[in-house]
Symmetry: C2
Subunit: 431 residues, 2 copies
């Protein structure tokens, strides 16, 4: 099948998938979990092949690590599927119910978006997570993973398709895209694909936005900040900063720039330096910072750099307003935190910092779908519409309006024969 035919097949399947009952979807999830367990040795053998070839091709260490799909990772994704099964069906929830008039009832009801195109990095576990999230939310999915993981992705997609279709899902709901030319074709199929979710670098997300008119839910860089206000509790500074910088440096919710209130800089900066240098973090700072502690020089470029490494830039600011301005200018609207004991200061920070996640007195590392209690995560969105921050099943949903009448016309109301009531209905949509 060509990519166009496959997108059309996914679209057709999405119509039936949207109307599928929760029990069939959960049965399919269980069937996938069982089949993955049963075919464990084949999956691991396929991954061994990818791994061996990638070593030959001298793939980077971190990429090799992400490519590895061993027994432990497989059991992790199987656990994930069983957790997902337990979550409430996000389809068919009544979000608004209004009586327009007697016997004319309006309902806003959640429904799947339709067909989702997902382009993800080399981690094969992402394929399982994302496709089962799409299944639970009633969306068809076109998947493009990293070519390093081609054998692993192929067997995983085959297993998911077979097990789910046997359990009653419509044929065509899941499609694996394997070539780059198919991906570029896919970007043009705005009639059949409703949303693209790229998981990768900022440049990658921007490339897709420039090359497709399908809506994009961007998952881009995190240039995250912590601002130390003058009244920050010294006992909170060290644990929060050490956690936010070093708990897992490769994450997008890791802090990259520390902003310090000028009037407390002499007190705070030596604490920060001692704590982070003990963790082998390289520090660079502005001139005012370097007048207090002996560290490297930060350039203009540092303020907008996501290091994803043991490195932190530090800037002394005149106060809350400059901190907010700096974050809104150089940040990536991802996750930013303030350490202060003053509720009014925290309130202003959280209102004026234009980021998906704004934190008071805790680590930026909490910015995550699992930690937020969403049970499953598509990724972390830096978009300003549809879904922002950690995206769970909700982010794969939209709604439709259902209006149930008994022969009413607009003219009945315009002529004055009937009058709009617009009263809230305390019930779910009956169909």
């Amino acid at each position: 099948m060509t990519i166009i035919e496959r997108a059309k097949a996914a679209k057709r399947a999405s119509i039936r998938l949207a109307a599928l009952d929760s029990a069939t979807k959960d049965k399919a999830l269980e069937a996938i979990a069982i089949r993955l367990e049963e075919r464990k040795s084949e999956i691991i053998a396929a991954n061994d092949k990818d791994y061996a070839r990638s070593i030959e091709e001298k793939l980077d260490g971190p990429l090799l690590k992400r490519l590895r799909f061993d027994e432990e990772k497989l059991s992790g994704v199987i656990d994930g599927i069983r957790s997902l099964k337990k979550l409430a069906d996000p389809v068919g929830q009544t979000k608004l119910a209004t009586q327009l008039d007697n016997g004319l009832d309006l309902y806003r009801v959640s429904c799947p978006i339709g067909v989702i195109g997902i382009i993800f990095e080399s981690r094969p576990d992402a394929l399982v997570q994302i496709s089962t999230l799409c299944l639970k939310s009633g969306n068809s999915v076109l998947l493009k993973g990293g070519s390093e993981a081609a054998n692993t992705n192929r067997i995983l997609a085959d297993i998911i398709r077979e097990a789910s279709v046997e359990a009653g899902l419509p044929e065509g709901w899941i499609q694996l895209i394997e070539t780059r030319s198919d991906v570029n074709e896919m970007f043009k199929l705005s009639d059949d694909i409703d949303l693209l979710i790229p998981r990768g670098s900022n440049a990658f997300v921007k490339y897709i936005m420039d090359n497709s008119n399908i809506p994009v839910l961007g998952h881009a860089d995190g240039v995250c900040h912590i601002y130390l206000h003058e009244d920050a509790d010294e006992t909170k500074i060290e644990p929060i900063i050490v956690d936010a910088k070093t708990q897992y440096v490769a994450a997008c919710n890791t802090v990259e720039t520390l902003l310090v209130n000028e009037s407390a800089a002499k007190r705070f900066l030596p604490i920060v330096k001692a704590a982070l240098e003990a963790k082998q973090v390289e520090l660079v700072g502005c001139e005012k910072t370097r007048a207090i502690i002996d560290i490297g020089e930060a350039t203009e470029e540092d303020w907008s750099t996501e290091y994803v490494d043991y490195k932190l830039s530090i800037k002394v600011v005149s106060g809350l307003d400059e901190a907010i301005d700096h974050i809104n200018t150089y940040g990536s609207s991802h996750t930013d935190a303030i350490i202060t004991e003053d509720e009014e200061v925290a309130r202003k920070f959280m209102a004026l910092v234009d980021s998906a996640n704004v934190f008071w007195n805790c680590s930026t590392r909490f910015s995550d779908g699992f930690r937020y209690g969403f049970g499953a995560e598509v990724g972390i969105s830096t978009s300003k519409i549809h879904a922002r921050g950690p995206v769970g099943l909700d982010g794969l949903m939209i709604y439709k309006y259902k209006l149930i009448g008994h022969g009413q016309t607009v003219n009945d109301f315009n002529s004055g024969k009937l009058t709009y009531k617009h009263t809230a209905l305390g019930q779910n949509c009956p169909l």
Copy 2:
């Protein structure tokens, strides 16, 4: 100021506007209403100029009618502003509250999107409606109206800016774009403009999607359907079809294609023909239709045409499944209705028709923000993400996550010292 400087000014203003209290915004709305009333004669004089020039330039009748901004239309928009003032502030509403652990509380709080770019047709009342909707929802706005209405738009934008800034709104929140070259520049400013809302034809919306990587909330054509199931109540058929087709032919929620169940076609089609021909509606139909009633021939093109006129296409279908397939193939996912007495048939129709609005036994013309009780309307979206169907203030909102802690780190949880509780909090975000 260049368009780039103006977009940056709007972005700066949006940060302050997002944190503005409800009272100041409502004071600004009242000030705008008063100032529009005070400067009535100047506004009407400006519109007279636009009108006279458009007559000289031989503008079409319907466009001339929409351009007219007289005392009645002015008093209509002033009433609209006072209704908008009464609506609850959509900013700062707690949409989700979860205790991650003792003293670590997560809130999802509604906030404005930021900067909205709106391109609208010649109606000057749209300028007032849209900019006051943006004000109420805390968004900055860049407006581009039709050049026919240049004088009217200029004085309206001036009045709104002056009155609102005097009442405490940040300078720069509203910007009028007057030239086509500025609009094309605007499409490139994805750093400062968060969402484009075009109100116009399908082709126009598609042009913008192809020429900008700013997200677009499309307001496109409505190719709406009514399907008459075999058990349709004959007393409901005539009023609903007449209303849906003729109550206001220029609207996007007007029916364009009627689908009739084959087994009842002989009964229903003569009723339809008599009712619509009495209203001077031209009918075209498929072969099976024309074997029953004497009307013109429908071509393949008819099935996807929005007539916006006294014309209707009719197709005989074998049953519910073919009706659903036809709508999903040729429709524009706008508004589609079924007439049936069977709840299970209605349920299937409403689940499988992939449209923003699916109706049972009532006119498609109800698909409208005011009729739905939203109090104000941005337009009707045919997008599949963010906001779908009639869009009220909600469609101009997004959310941010606020996490309030007491020094917690992710390592506290990973090490087992603390455990995620993820219990629902029955309270609004305290800040």
